[in-house]
């Protein structure tokens, strides 16, 4: 057993192995990370997520988010962290609440109203 291990170690030793910049304890955490960085806006750019930006503050924020994930913070807590420091507009997801009601439900209401009008007109003709 040990001999095999030794031989394998000898074979792979000439190759150095690089590593991930953002390390996580599980694949789920990693998926969460990559999903989050696409939803958080780069604080310094006109537009774009921190995933697509290599501005220093974006890099710092990505590192921080990876840290927070590894420390066990949830997605909501991480988003709150970003919101508190950079403002609500750092999230590309305008959360659903009383002020964004029109935004989220507007299209649905619009569709229903027009469909209603369309069908009502048929009924009364």
């Amino acid at each position: 057993m040990i001999k095999i291990f030794f031989i394998i170690a000898l074979i792979i030793s000439p190759y150095g192995f690089s590593s991930e910049v953002y390390k996580f304890k599980s694949v789920n955490d990693e998926d969460r990370f990559y999903a989050l960085i696409h939803e958080i806006r780069c604080p310094k750019c006109t537009s774009g997520s921190i995933a697509s930006s290599n501005a220093p503050v974006s890099e710092d924020l990505k590192m921080k988010i990876a840290e927070l994930i590894n420390q066990g913070y949830s997605d909501t807590e991480i988003k709150d962290y970003a919101k508190k420091r950079f403002g609500k507009d750092i999230l590309y997801d305008p959360e659903i609440n009383s002020t964004t009601f029109v935004l989220w439900f507007g299209p649905f209401i619009f569709l229903t109203l027009i469909l209603f009008g369309f069908l009502l007109r048929r009924k009364f003709k």
């Binding site: 604080p43 310094k44 710092d60 508190k84 420091r85 403002g87």
Partner: protein, 174 residues
């Protein structure tokens, strides 16, 4: 009903035009000013010029924090005003952001030091925790709570219109 739709077809665009006209002509003052308040986060970082470590305990109750760096060109322009504030008795804490210690100390020597104490934040960890995106930026803090976060150069115009009203309102620096 039909007439309602017909009038809406005209009215909605007119309303839209009115709305855009207002947005185009409204004056946006001081876009760098952010008045959302939050608590100063905990931290432990080395001092720039002394062999000690600072935490949030080392702060006064009321102070200004200025984010600066030797590579920041606008900071040199702002420096004169910071010296004036210092002379007027305002307590300014320096947060040296993503800077090399010797470069930063050299800068202070060349331009003189307006800061009561200076934190060295080479990785920008405290800066990130406070929502800093670059230099220069200035915070107004009272009792551990940030009241004003200004991004950009602080000069007399900004001071009079952004900081001073808040200082007066909260009866600070008396």
């Amino acid at each position: 009903m039909k007439n309602l739709i017909r009038s809406l077809i005209i009215l909605l665009p007119l309303f839209g035009i009115y709305f855009f006209f207002n947005i185009l002509t409204e004056e946006k003052f001081y876009p760098g000013a952010d008045f959302r308040s939050f608590e100063v986060p905990n931290f432990e970082l080395s001092a720039l010029d002394l062999d000690v470590k600072y935490t949030s305990e080392d702060f006064d109750n009321e102070f200004l924090m200025n984010v600066w760096a030797s590579w920041c060109i606008t900071c040199r322009v702002e420096h004169g005003f910071l010296m004036k504030l210092n002379n007027d008795g305002y307590n300014i804490v320096g947060l040296n952001y993503k800077d090399n210690k010797s470069d930063a100390l050299g800068w202070l020597k060349k331009y003189t030091n307006p800061y009561s104490l200076n934190i060295h934040d080479p990785k920008g960890s405290l800066a990130l925790d406070m929502g800093v995106t670059g230099a220069p930026e200035t915070f107004l803090v009272k009792d551990g709570v940030v009241l004003v976060h200004y991004s950009g150069e602080v000069n007399k115009v900004i001071w009079d219109n952004v900081f001073f009203p808040i200082i007066k309102e909260n009866k600070m620096f008396q």
